[in-house]
Each structure stands twice: as structure tokens, then as C-alpha cells.
Symmetry: C2
Subunit: 365 residues, 2 copies
DNA sequence: ACTGAAAATGTGTGCGCACACACTATATTT
DNA sequence: AAATATAGTGTGTGCGCACACATTTTCAGT
């Protein structure tokens, strides 16, 4: 027996009032006598009314304008995937009157972030998805959003004091730990390990330092043998000293593995390692970028940690949609699993991305 | 500018006919003059009409009865997860008038499968999700479903000649390959590898042999050193010869790793390995069952391959719902990624399962 | 040319909800 | 006592679609 679904009409009948009164109670629009209120709430409690979210959206026909404030997808394949997820989400939710405007900024330019933020505000959005890459610059932006009562969700970088409705991302500390674990598997004896940050201004990249911390902690806790951990940082593609320092590193006979802290740098590191000769040096990086997949296939890269940018972006938008349209309070922190990609399971992930079923149906109920 | 959505009404106006005529064209219910048909299809092509799936379900109020034919969840934690996913799916789709009846069978009893199949038929289901564990017994069952024109989706075990609308599962051959890869990481020299099948009648378990094949192929292709692969099979918990054979295996000094082909057997193997002493023997098994997680944490198990039973079950039901309610033809083969679980990334998966957002929103296109 | 069936087309209703609006009953003011 | 305000309540409409049903048109058979 399928328990039948309770509608407003049913509540009204049971409480001996009209639909309108029930409606007023449900949305507490006031103008209800104490007597009626009591009756309705009593029935409501007994029956666990769940509004039919589908019917709810039907009549309204409101247009929701969401705006994203993310790094330029043309600048970085990681953000290109993110953008793909945004488009997918737009397609998914367009039925509900959702449209998405994309505002982009330059990963290297704090100014462009601030300018993009201004643009966002001008668009008078109903909700915002923001990647607050630049901590200091992001704070005042949050404030203006907050003051204007525009809900915003955080993406990629978690800033606790942001007042955002939700954070969508990964646990970066544990991401580093996973990387370390993968590098350490089956290795022993004295070893040098390296963390590579490529093309990032570390001052603004707390998130990369989180990864590094996790990496170091794991090695120190678990590595079976004496270990040295070296952190290398390439500030830009024209940073020549980096090449030298890397060459020195690669010459170390006990170099066991290299961890690249970002998806972008992964292929760069791989190309260096390839030309130098792999020599059993384990390489772990991020994401299924085209180049990375090639290097994984050819054995230069050993593992990739999948950050699922596309799916994360989809989730980010869905979170806003749930909040705005379905009035569902999102979970404040939505952490994606740290998925390990190897040569052998990689194809199974690529199929997935083609048939990608975005997560998030459970807007309902 | 949000491009406005085209409704039936718009089509009708543009084609100079009534809504009813457009409706007949869309659902080709016939009774349309050639002239009208031409006009409507022309407009239809120009405007790329997408029905509003939400509105579509509103009026109908039909009840859909789905039935599952799966192994008893009380018998096996893997199938308990599956069952959880079914319940989740029911909750998710109940708004659309979907109810799910669960028919279970005994994993060890072919007869019970046949009996359960009869029960399923008696329920006059609108759709069926079936795990055709027993190949030979499943074939006639498929035939009766097919003859009665009841759509059914396959779960877990793929049978090409089943005429099912979809298969939801994993690529088992590659699953074995991934397991082998994980066992081989960082190992060299002459090595013995073992595949353990626990409590399965191999005659009926083509799927386990698929995994074994993948495992063997990988080792033969890639292992750096002479390799021997031994396959061990415990037919039941009272199979005493197994214990002996396993003891012999564990004594081999060059034993590098053990691959357990099912989630159920994983903890069993782990307990043996623990009492024997790990000695660097790598252990790979399946799924985040409670015991397995413990063994993974304590270092007895090195890797788990996550089959995501819960999510898969959800997908299975969603597939039927899409087919029945939303008239969307499902992809014939829906392969889940082969997710690698380690000690370090395991917590990130457990959070996921709590906040699980089932995949499948994309009923809306 | 006229009837009657069949073919083609159009109209109306309900799905569950939100929201505007109309209405009633009581209290307050003039 | 009549006019007016106001709290409380009920009714009606539309959202986009499916489907039943009403209506019109066509055309064969007389």
C-alpha cells in the first residue's frame, strides 16, 4: 500500500478550514486566528506534510539569475572543466527559470578579481557562486554580498568567516595526505620527497599550503625510513632559478617521489621528469586534464587525484538552486571524495565524464 | 537575455492549429491530416520544443509500481547497501507516484531465485530491477518479462542477451586489472599472486572469473619479474580444505599479494592474513563494509575497490523511472568508475555516503 | 443533394501550489 | 445607527501538460 501523499487540500479538510488558511499558516503570512492556527498546526504535525516541490515551481515562473565569479576558463584547463559543469547546471535547471551569467577573472591578477566582483554586483544576481582565490580581496566582496542579502556559495577555497551558505570542495589537508600515501606505497630506505608548486603565488594560495602540510605530515608519520621533504616553488613560467633547483633535486639518488600541488603544474612536472628519466621516481598530481592523462598512460605520472571540477561546479549551482527555489538549506560544507586515478581505472572515469549524471537530484524531499 | 521556453501553446499558435493537434503530433496518436502534420513538424523543427517534464508529471497522478529482484540484504552487507539505495530511490521518486516492492532471493539457492521471480510477476510491476546472479535460471525469467512487455534493468551482472533496457554495474575485467595494478605497485622480483574467491559457486559466477581474468592479464603484462598466479576457491564456510590450501599459500616466501574477488570474502581473507602475519603481503578487496574499513585502517587491507552498491541501486531505479515516467531512453550500459579506496582517502568517502546525493538528477535534460 | 459515419480538429478539465483578490464578521469611529 | 476599518477567511486563477470529450469537417454511399 503506497501511503498517500498529503496535500494542502487534505490538511485544510482535516483542520476544517480553507486552503487559503493553510497556505497562510505554512508560509506564516499572518492574518490567521489563534484558533485556526492551532487546528492547522495540529493536523500538520500529525501528517508530516511535504509540499510538492514540483507543483510549487510550476505557477511561479520567476526568473532566477545566478552569477559565477570564477577564474577564466580559457586560462586553465581545470577551470575549463568547472565552466563545463556550470553550463551543464544551467541546462539542467533552465526548466526552473534559472539562467547563469559567468563573470571571470585572471588567476594572476587580484585587480581583475575585484573588477569582476563589481560586475557581478551590477548584474543584481539572485545567487552567486564564487571561488575566493584571493583571500584578502575576497573579504570585502563577501561583505557587500552579505549586506545586499544575496546568497553565495563558496567554491574550491574555503573561507570560514565568509558567511557563505555552503562550501563545495575537497579536504585539502587530506588530499596532501593521500598524495603522500600513494608516493610511499612499497617504498623504503632513506628517501627524499618533494612538493612542487607551479605557477602559483604562494602568498595567496593557502589551499596549496594545506596540501603541502598534509603531505609532510603523512610522510613524517608513516614513511618507513629517514625522509627529507623539499618544497619547490615556480613563481612563473619565466622563473629560471626553478629549473636549476629542480635539476638539482632530480639528481638526488634517493628521490622517491614528487607531489605536484595543482592540476596545472602536473603536466609541467611530468615533462621535466620525462626528459630527466623517470628512474622509479613516483609522480602524483591532480585531475584528468588531457596532458595528464597522456602522461599517466605513458607511465610518467603514477597517480592523479581527481578533484572533479565539473561535478563540483554542478553541485555548486545546484546548491544555490536548492536554496533559492526549493528553500532547502544546503549542507554548510560539501566535501567531495578524494578519488585516486591510476592507469587502470582511468578509462572508467572517462566514460563517466561523458555520461555524466550530475549529482543533486535530491532536491526533492 | 534568457531565451524563452517554447510551450505546446506556442507551437500551436505558430503552426496555426490547436493545442490538441500539436499534442497528437507530439505523441503521434494519429488522427492528424497530412497538412496539419507538416505544419506542426515544421514549427517543431525550427523551435526545438522541449516538453516541460515537470508539468507533464503533474496531471497524470499515475501510480508506478517498481519491483526489485535482488539477493537478500540480510544475508550480505553488500546487498544491504544496495537495499539502502533502493529505499533512497523510493524516497526520491515517491513524488512521482513511484512505489517500490522488494523481492529477495537467497544467494545460494537457485530455486529461491525462481520463486522470487514468480512473485515479481504476480505483483504486475511496471518496471523491474533484477540482479541476474544465476545465468541459466535468469534467461527464462527475462523471456517472461519481455513477453509481458515489462521493462527491466540489469544490476550487477551483465547478460548481453537479456534484452534489458539498461545495465548498471562495473567493468569487471578492468576491476581485476585495477586490483592487480594496486598489488604490483612498487614490487619486483619473482612473485606469487593469488586470487581468492570466497563462498561463491564459481559455476554461476562468471562475473568473478571476469575479475580473475583481468587480474591475471595485468600481472602477466606488467609485473616486473617472474610471476605465478594461484586461484583459490572456498566453496562454503565449511570448506576445510580451503584453510589448508590457504595456509600453504601464505607460507610461500615470495607471496606478494592477494586479491579477493568479492566484498563478502574480503574481511575473511583479512582475518586469515592478520593471524598469519602480514609480512608485506598486499591485500586488495572490495567495498566499504564495516569490517573492511576496520582492516583497512589497521593496515591489514591495503586497498579496497569501491563498487558503490548504494549509488548503483539508486541509479538502477532512476533508470527505470526515466524510462517509464520521463520517456527518456536510458544508456544501455551504465558503468560506474572503479574507485580506489586507501586508508587516507577513505574518510572522504564515508562523509559522502552520509550526505549522499544520489546521481541522476539529469532526468531533466 | 442528403444522410451518417469517420476523420480531423478544438475545447475543457485537473494535477498541487502560490498568490491575488473577494468576501465575511467583528470592532471602531463618526 | 450608519459608515468604515480591520482581522480573519475563502475563492479563483494560472503554471504546462495529458487526456477525455465536444465539435467541426470531409467524404462515401445512397
Amino acid at each position: 500500500m503506497a501511503k498517500k501523499i498529503i496535500r494542502i487540500k487534505d490538511i485544510a479538510k482535516a483542520a476544517g478550514v480553507s486552503i487559503g488558511t493553510v497556505d497562510r499558516v505554512l508560509h506564516n503570512r499572518g492574518k490567521v486566528s489563534e484558533d485556526a492556527l492551532k487546528k492547522v498546526t495540529a493536523v500538520l504535525k500529525k501528517n508530516e506534510y511535504k509540499p510538492n516541490l514540483i507543483a510549487r515551481t510550476l505557477g511561479s515562473n520567476k526568473a532566477y539569475r545566478l552569477v559565477t565569479l570564477l577564474p577564466n576558463p580559457e586560462q586553465d584547463p581545470y577551470w575549463a572543466f568547472t565552466h563545463k559543469g556550470i553550463l551543464q547546471a544551467e541546462n539542467e535547471w533552465s526548466h526552473y527559470g534559472v539562467s547563469i551569467v559567468t563573470c571571470v577573472f585572471d588567476l594572476q591578477e587580484k585587480k581583475s578579481f575585484e573588477e569582476a566582483a563589481k560586475k557581478v554586483l551590477k548584474l543584481k544576481p539572485d545567487g552567486i557562486l564564487i571561488a575566493p582565490i584571493f583571500y584578502k580581496e575576497a573579504l570585502p566582496v563577501f561583505k557587500t554580498f552579505f549586506d545586499k542579502a544575496i546568497p553565495y556559495a563558496l567554491f574550491n577555497t574555503h573561507i570560514k568567516e565568509s558567511n557563505a551558505i555552503s562550501f563545495i570542495g575537497q579536504d585539502l589537508y587530506h588530499s596532501g595526505r593521500v598524495a603522500a600515501e600513494l608516493i610511499c606505497i612499497g617504498q623504503k630506505g632513506p628517501g627524499t620527497f618533494s612538493v612542487l608548486h607551479v605557477d602559483e603565488d604562494l602568498n595567496d594560495s593557502i589551499h596549496l599550503l594545506e596540501k603541502e602540510k598534509g603531505f609532510k605530515d603523512y610522510v613524517n608519520e608513516f614513511y618507513d625510513g629517514h625522509s627529507v621533504i623539499e618544497s619547490l616553488n615556480r613563481t612563473s613560467s619565466t622563473d629560471f632559478s626553478f629549473k636549476k633547483r629542480l635539476a638539482t633535486l632530480l639528481k638526488k639518488p634517493d628521490l622517491k617521489g614528487i607531489f605536484v600541488s595543482s592540476s596545472r603544474g602536473t603536466a609541467t612536472a611530468a615533462s621535466f621528469l620525462k626528459s630527466h628519466g623517470k628512474n622509479g621516481i613516483r609522480l602524483v598530481g591532480y585531475d584528468l586534464l588531457e596532458k595528464n592523462v597522456e602522461y599517466l598512460n605513458s607511465g610518467v605520472i603514477d597517480f592523479l587525484i581527481h578533484q572533479k571540477p565539473q561535478q563540483q561546479a554542478f553541485e555548486g549551482i545546484s546548491c544555490l538552486v536548492n536554496h533559492l527555489i526549493f528553500k532547502k538549506s544546503p549542507q554548510p560544507i560539501n566535501l567531495f571524495p578524494l578519488e585516486v586515478i591510476t592507469r587502470q581505472n582511468m578509462p572508467s572515469y572517462q566514460v563517466e565524464s561523458i555520461n555524466y549524471h550530475p549529482q543533486g537530484t535530491s532536491i526533492l524531499n
